[in-house]
Amino acid sequence: MKQNTFSFQLKVDDFLPATDEEKQSLVQMRPSVSFWKDAINRLKKNKVAMVSLTLILIIMVLAFIVPNFYPYKYEQQIQGSEYLRPMTYSVQEQARIDAEEMVFPHIMGTDNLGRDYAVRLMVGSRISLLVGLIASGIILIIGSVYGAVSGFFGGWTDMIMMRIADIVYTVPDILLIVLISFAIQEPMASLATKPGFHWIQTIGVNLISIFLVFALLYWVGMARIVRSQVLTLKQSEYVTAAKALGASNGRIIRKHLLTNCIGTLIVTTTLQIPSSIFTESFLSFLGLGVAIPLPSLGSLASDAINGLNTYPYLLLAPAIMISLIILSFNLFGDGLRDAFDPKMKS
């Protein structure tokens, strides 16, 4: 039957009771998407972030795994092969090759003491990454607790705690690093001779003082961010409900406030890693970093400056490595921020 456009010609079929099948088809059960899944899905779609993550993983493998079975050691000085160009051999090594022995090439040449530069670069990246990760962990713990307590209690507590943060922020960091490393030199040196504390000598007192300084100084930014989050979160109904049910302040901070700013915490910590690496390389460059012969990217660059005119690659290699690490962490952090920021949710 031809339907007239403007008339109500109803179909009787449309008014029959629905069958069970039809009812079932309307019940649409979408799997619930959790906060984490949602964020990770968004992160996976972000190409730049995934490329940076891959880069970070490659650098980590190079830094933590490859040096363990690399034919050269970072502190091993090979006689007669000082300042070799990349992929060249010393006279002794050439003789061994002529005798049909296997000699692993110096991919990046050697430094002034005849140490293989490729392995030094990898171990240097390991130190820089470790510093970045550990320092960011310390900052995460101190900053989030401090900020949460300050924001949660508010009033006088908040004012005094934030004033202290201002003061900490204003003391010049170089001053503190030098003073702390002088101050802990004696106690650390005597502690290092005791059994079980030999690792102190390997890492170096300076590096420990850098960690101390990070713990003492650089939490301020993290604390401020967490505080501002907590200030808005503590107005939420669930916090009032928890209070009414008799939850202690510590429980509210741990279970309700900090868990709800987890996105911010992850993002800020990730972005803290490159800036910690930055600071460490800067300090090693000044000679306040790791103990000789342990290399870090900053000290490698610093050592290379004297021979800059003849051996520019000795400077360029660690410089590129630092830039790569910082760049990929920054880009990955940006990706994380996009993924965890609920405002971006479409």
Partner: protein
């Protein structure tokens, strides 16, 4: 407004006082002293020196004396550079760093603001992508890398630019480049994101709908609001850049305040450390306070307190 400024100044003074106190005691708690390293000096002479500078007195008396003198504007004599006044040292070194730093901040602003705006207006086009890539890369390169690579390429390899000292305008090129690279990249990113925010606002669309040209709507309406985050960043940036970067000053052999500060820490020149710390802290706090006040003056949306 007056009450707010007074309150901020009170807080600033308190912060400076506490920073000075903490630095004083921390510095003196650390083992060793200014005259320990000089082995040629006999014990007697060391004691005489200590007496001359009042270092033999109990710490709390030293603290009281120092604070009283500092309050009167007397920051004492340098312990290491014989016969030189701390105020003299700072006032001779600071202008060198300040001129270099001032130029660097100016360069960063003059490059960063237009670059960020251009990127935002051409969002998603190749210009935007290019600027973003350069700016992101710029944030990742440490200043000592820039210094040394710039020195190698332009100074040694091409021989175009002098690599140390600050005697002619050409000498400024490399240090200013190294100092302004990071702030430029940062300001570009800041400017781009805030410009994107502002361009999407209704009042810009209204202005465009009323027939205001794109150029004019950007400069008259958008730029004024988009520049606010940059203002907050410039305060601390100025404070840190004017006082000199130790790295840049060491690599390019520039006699500035940054290098002076680090060498005084290494030498335990107590009075110079104290004087410079007070100077740096005051500058940082004053800049932050000024920025807060300016921010509230130019952005009426922000409530006082």
């Amino acid at each position: 407004m007056g009450k707010y400024i007074l309150k901020r100044m009170g807080a600033a003074l308190l912060t400076i006082f506490l920073v000075v106190t903490i630095t004083f005691f921390l510095m003196n708690l650390v083992p060793g002293g200014p005259f320990v390293a000089e082995k040629s000096i006999s014990e007697q002479a060391q004691n005489a020196l200590k007496e001359k500078f009042g270092l033999d007195k109990p710490l709390i008396v030293q603290y009281k004396n120092y604070m009283l003198n500092a309050f009167h504007g007397d920051f004492g004599l340098s312990l290491k550079q014989r016969g030189r006044n701390v105020t003299d040292i700072i006032s001779s070194k600071f202008p060198v760093s300040a001129r270099l730093g001032g130029i660097a901040v100016l360069v960063a602003l003059l490059l960063g603001i237009p670059l960020g705006s251009v990127a935002a207006v051409n969002r998603g086009k190749w210009v935007d992508n290019l600027i973003i890539v350069i700016a992101t890369g710029g944030i990742a390169v440490p200043s000592f890398v820039l210094c040394t690579v710039g020195m190698y390429v332009f100074g040694v390899h091409l021989g175009l630019l002098p690599t140390f000292g600050l005697t002619s305008p050409l000498h400024y090129v490399l240090p200013v480049f190294a100092l302004s690279f990071y702030p430029t990249a940062y300001i570009t990113r800041l400017m781009r994101s805030s410009m994107l925010d502002v361009i999407g606002q209704d009042y810009i669309r209204t202005a465009r709908a009323k027939g205001v040209s794109q150029f004019f709507s950007l400069f008259k309406h958008a730029l004024r609001n988009a520049i606010l985050p940059v203002v907050t960043y410039v305060g601390p940036l100025l404070a840190y850049t004017l006082t000199g970067s130790f790295i840049v000053e060491r690599i390019f052999v520039i006699p500035g305040l940054g290098g002076q500060f680090v060498s005084s820490i290494m030498n335990r020149d107590y009075t110079v450390i104290m004087g410079t710390t007070i100077f740096l802290a005051t500058l940082v706090i004053v800049m932050n306070t000024v920025v807060d006040i300016v921010y509230k003056l130019i952005d009426p949306r922000i409530q006082l307190n």
